[in-house]
């Protein structure tokens, strides 16, 4: 194949890969931190009192059990995401997940 045609292929493969990377990264890299932030907000809601002092109820907001439960669920989702990330690192380190030879990842046993 000529260099020019190969260059066009490189560009096309790159564009195909980039939007997938962007999409996955937005979900994992921005979505999970947002869920984490919601968890912190729920935690503060659950604690009540001065935790939400800047919301205009200094020291008087009541604690809330639901807040702590919701926070727990949200943090669990984030932990699940992080654990998946670690598993992925381990799997690819063992050569069991991806092959760099193809844009569509080839799974190796």
């Amino acid at each position: 194949m000529s260099g020019g045609a190969a260059l066009v292929h490189d560009l096309r493969f790159t564009l195909e890969a980039v939007w997938k990377v962007l999409l996955a990264s937005l979900v994992l890299g921005a979505g999970l931190p947002a869920i984490f932030a919601l968890g912190i907000r729920s935690l503060a809601w659950g604690a009540g009192g001065e935790a939400r002092a800047s919301e205009g109820q200094p020291g008087h907001a009541p604690g809330n059990r639901a807040g702590r439960v919701i926070a727990g669920v949200l943090f669990a989702i984030v932990l699940y995401g992080v654990a998946s990330g670690i598993l992925f690192i381990i799997a690819s380190g063992q050569g069991k997940d991806i092959s760099f030879a193809h844009v569509v990842p080839t799974i190796h046993g």
Binding site: M1, G3, A5, A6, L7, V8, H9, D10, L11, F13, T14, A17, V18, K20, V21, L22, A24, S25, L26, V27, L28, G29, A30, L32, P33, A34, F36, A37, L38, G39, I40, R41, L43, A44, A47, E50, A51, R52, A53, S54, E55, V82, G85, I86, F88, I89, I90, S92, G93, Q94, G95, D97, I98, S99, F100, A101, H102, V103, V104, P105
Partner: protein, 408 residues
């Protein structure tokens, strides 16, 4: 010691030297934000990162033997060296690899001295491209691959380098913006503590991923040299001792900590708060993992820098120092050609000096340059004690009298 053995030993030592600079150049990619926000004490941060890099290096049993194939034609597709480069104990291949590694190390040290984060993989590729051109000519370089997959200098180096910081920056900016929106009105007591935990967790992920991907490159290079010299024959496994020394080299480098680079990333580019630190490292981890899953080769450094920049854009009112960012971009543009020039020069010098003298001459030049740059760094040393000092500009490494040749 025969000339062949001597060349092999020098290649291995130089490869480990590269691995070491790879470690300390990249500590900041994972830990700069945690250090800048005070989530971790500087010495604790580098120790944590070192341990995770060590663990990551051991996790990678996959063989990265074909690492050079992305950019040059010195190996066959199964990982064995090209037959015409292995005569005489692999002399031809040894010189290319040694010169390429020296080009990479010199560029890594220079950018470290200047406090610039720059990609160690680009430096390695650049050095190898230069020494290959000097040895085999332009056709020895794999410019665009064969069109069947993302390959070559364009597909594996240039395109990812242009796109990955943009993707990482975008993700980090969105993440930062969301986080700040979601915690409006929550007491600082909760946000500070919570996001510090998040920061340390995400930074740890980046460190682990770094150890897995980057230590492999040096393991591949050393194993290639062992095959070329007839000391190893398998293309599906690497010697245990190679894995061991490479893991230790990158972890030691990480622990020593490239404080000048950490300072630029943590304090120079953007003033970072804990939520931004978490957004930046989460973006870095996600982009690195997603792209390695999709076979899109990218540099941890470009991703981390893009993320930190993005987190400055995502927080309303945050200051981004575009001058610092501009210097980094210039550094990135220069990485490949600069390392290539040094690699080519080293190959030429080695070629002139002959079979025994060549590798020795190259190695002595490397030691001299490394020592000079180390000594220069002592004049305005950056370390754990001053890494978080207020930012007053990039480290001054070339005072006027230095440039004009005067003695200071």
């Amino acid at each position: 010691m025969s000339a062949e053995t001597l060349a092999l030993v020098l290649v291995i030592v130089t490869a480990l030297g590269f691995d070491f600079t790879n470690g300390f150049h990249d500590t900041g990619n994972a830990m700069a934000t945690s250090i800048a926000t005070g989530a971790l004490r500087p010495t604790i941060a580098v120790a944590l990162s070192a341990v995770l890099n060590l663990a990551g290096a051991f996790l990678s049993v996959a063989v990265a033997l074909t690492v050079t194939n992305a950019v040059v034609h010195v190996q066959q597709s199964d990982g064995t060296p090209n037959p015409d480069l292995v005569s005489g104990g692999g002399r031809g291949l040894m010189m290319i690899v040694l010169a390429g590694l020296i080009g990479a190390i010199v560029w890594n040290l220079l950018t470290w001295l200047l406090g610039l984060p720059s990609s160690s993989s680009h430096a390695l590729f650049g050095g190898l491209i230069g020494s290959t051109i000097a040895s085999l000519g332009w056709s020895g370089v794999n410019w665009v691959g064969d069109g069947s997959k993302l390959d070559g200098v364009v597909g594996k180096v240039i395109l990812p380098a242009v796109l990955s910081p943009v993707v990482a920056g975008l993700v980090a900016a969105v993440g930062t913006w969301l986080i700040y929106r979601l915690v409006v009105g929550v007491a600082a007591r909760f946000t500070q503590n919570g996001f510090r935990w998040g920061q340390v967790g995400t930074a740890s992920l980046v460190s682990l991923a770094h150890g897995t991907s980057d230590a492999q490159k040096t393991m591949g290079v050393i194993t290639l040299a062992l095959i070329a010299s007839g000391h190893w024959h398998s293309t599906t496994s690497i010697p245990l001792w190679v894995k061991l020394v490479c893991a230790l080299a990158i972890a030691t480098g990480t622990y020593v900590g490239g404080w000048r680079v950490i300072r630029t990333l943590g304090k120079g580019l953007v003033e970072i708060e804990s939520p931004q630190g978490m957004a930046a490292e989460a973006s870095s981890a996600a982009v690195i993992l997603a792209s390695s899953h999709l076979g899109f080769a990218l540099s941890t450094t470009h991703v981390a820098t893009g993320s930190i920049l993005g987190t400055g854009l995502g927080r309303p009112g945050a200051e981004v120092r575009w001058g610092v960012a501009g210097r980094m971009v210039v550094g990135w543009l220069l990485t490949l050609p600069a390392a290539a020039v040094v690699g080519a020069l080293m190959w030429a010098i080695g070629h002139v000096c002959g079979t025994t003298g060549g590798p020795v001459a190259d190695f002595v030049i490397l030691l001299a340059l490394a020592t000079a740059m180390y000594l220069r760094s002592r004049r305005n040393a950056v370390g754990a004690h001053n890494v978080n000092d207020d930012w007053h500009g990039m480290p001054q490494v070339a005072p006027p009298e230095f440039v004009t040749g005067g003695v200071s």
